[in-house]
Amino acid sequence: MNFYKITRTRKLEYTILFSILLFLFDVIFSSHDSIIIHIAHEIIVFLVITSLYIYLKDFLAIRTNSPFTLVVNSLILAALIFFILTLTNTFFNYSEINSNKISFPGSFSLLLIIFILIGAATFIFSGFRELFYFRQKKNLQMYFNTMLVFLALAYFSNLLIKFDDTFDYPKDAFFVVSIILISINSLRVAWIAFLSKKQKIYLLIISIILTTLFGVNFGLLIDSNAVKSVIYNFSPGLFSIFILTMIYGMIYSSVIFFTTLFHLPTAEEFDRKAEEVSSLFDLTKLITQVFDLSELADTITALTTKVCNSDFAWLVTAKNEKFVLNSVNNIEYNDAEKVTEFLLDEYSYDIVNVLTIKKSTIKIRDKDESKTLSFGAIAIAPLRVHGKLNGYLFTARKHEYNFDEEDIKAVGAFADYASVAVENAKHIKESLEKERLEKELDVAREIQYKILPRKIPNFKNLTISTVFVPAFEVGGDYYDFFELNDDCLGFVVADVSGKGISAAFIMSELKGIFESLANIIVTPKKLLTKANELLKNTLDKKNFVTAIYGIIDFKKEQLKFARAGHTPVLYFSENKLTKLKPQGIGLGLDYGHSFENTLSEVTIELKDNDIITFYSDGIPEAKNSKLEDFGYDRFVEILRENCNESPDYISSELMKQISMFSKDKSQHDDITLVLFKWKSNNKLNGDS
């Protein structure tokens, strides 16, 4: 763009430069009258015209004018030319000019007049060029350029007369050829078709005025009068070009006039078509932008009314096996609903493509009053996508004239757009839903990480290793440690049923319950019973929590725990593995006495190197691609093989095996592992 600007101003500079040159040349050599000077003068004039033409051509090309503006511009300029020609004829005397008796200010003003005429004529010509290329699909450069060449030839052929008075037939020949080419080029009026009806009417009037103006200007120039002499004496070539421009104007304006005249009867039809195309275009844009179906529906009904020349339009879309009214245009909501009901009852089997119904009277009953609605014509278009019926678009007229082919096409097109929009709206809703879900899961995961203990406590007798791997949907696993006093550690491992944010919410509740109870109640059974009572307010009927709560007494070297529906504890002691599954039902399954009555406590006397494993069902239920479970056998085997290793080593080994086992299957549930390894006091004392 910048580069272009520079060259454009450069072109203007050339024009100004040549004009100054021309002015100086004429001032200096005004009294000389030799052939050489004459030729030089003609060349300079030609350069002025050409550079101005090139400048204007680019100027107009950049300004993407509407053809209508271009025509109005030429009208103003043609009027200006007429005005100047008449003024010149009034103020200057023909005989004075011919005998060169003009004083300096006079001749100066004549020069100014010449410049103005050059400017106006060139502008008109450039405007015609712009119109010529407007809306043309083919490459027409050759036609126009040939004309330009002949115009240049017509310009310079005037010089030949200077050498020999009788030598004027080349000039005439070029002149005639130029006119023929002008006539051919004047037939390029494709742009007229694209004007609106109103513009066409204006254009008709303007073209009459234009033809007259150019004709009058032409007449003024070929008469023997002052202005003709002024221009001809200044430059014969310029005179030729000027005349030709006026002829071009006459021919082109009259072609415009006739073309517009022929276009007028169909103008309305064309307008409608254009309206339809542009409204479909708008709709397409809208469909990609608007997520809100109701807004889109309103646009569709409004456009349908406009384009089909109908009085009412309304749109219904399918929703749970019924059709719901989305938007009405010019018709009452209730009426539209009733009419839809009636029409679909009557015709729903006939609506394959657009169905048109002639004059119909529809009685509708609204509560206790009944009223009659009569329509002159109704069109119903189905909204179909991939063979699925998404709804109907209705449009109706008061007066009795039927929907024609074009209307039917338009209604059909709008219905198609509407169905695409309905489909899109659905998809967008789904994807938003999905996005919301993913965000929710992110939040849930964050909550879960905040709830789980950051630091695992360390003791002389006890080494703890924990692993937690959340599943994509967040399963609701929870574990925690409570240092009750110097001698006791309480711990909980739990799994909340459900997933996502609701599970995370219950987890945080759970954390609160266990944290507060751990410091008050010192037996696992009592604590879990209390927790079950408290959870009654939190859990809904469908949800439950499985949990193990235990207390390790470092002094007594004892582990006490109770299991409320949670996975069995794996206890590895003296090379023997025991699955500990004391009775106990999940939290939230029953709030009566059953919970307390069935819950039993287990006490283990801890020995050196005992390994106690708590875990969530994410481990035994981890699946491979064949949907087989990881199961207990593999689990137990890994514990057995690594029983002499550190808890961290054991847990990492276990996780390695699980991830290898289920490498082709995404993790379905949270995985939690809490592993205890005990060092007995005797051993410790023995070491020290």
Partner: protein
């Protein structure tokens, strides 16, 4: 995931629900619909036949927990029968057998209802 099919049939006054396939969070609503229908029709004596059920998740268990109270408050119940071992283990681990009646065969469960009617 394999499909889930739920089927409802009446045996005398007792409604029997047959389950087939996988009952999890995605398929649980289908079972809920059946229970809603039973509640609407005031049929509170329900036997769930697990003969063809391969797998049940906690969401599946939640369905029974949600309706059992309604059934029992209306002199009905939800009784389970014909469970595969792996499915029973899930119920067992959670302590369901304390709260619900499990039968080897649906006939037994139906008979149990009929005895209760007489008493």
């Amino acid at each position: 995931m394999a499909d889930f099919i739920v089927n409802l049939r009446g045996v005398g006054n007792v409604s029997v629900i047959d389950l087939k396939g996988y009952l999890d969070a995605h398929t649980a609503p289908e079972l809920e619909n059946i229970f809603n229908k039973l509640v609407d029709e005031k049929k509170f004596q329900v036997v769930v036949n697990f003969h063809d059920l391969q797998y049940i998740s906690s969401a599946g268990l939640g369905v029974f927990m949600a309706y059992v109270e309604t059934m029992r408050n209306n002199r009905g119940d939800i009784k389970f029968s014909n469970m595969k071992e792996n499915v029973y283990n899930i119920f067992d681990l959670l302590g369901f057998p304390v709260l619900y009646e499990f039968y080897k065969d649906e006939r037994e469960a139906i008979n149990k209802f009929n005895e209760q009617e007489k008493s």
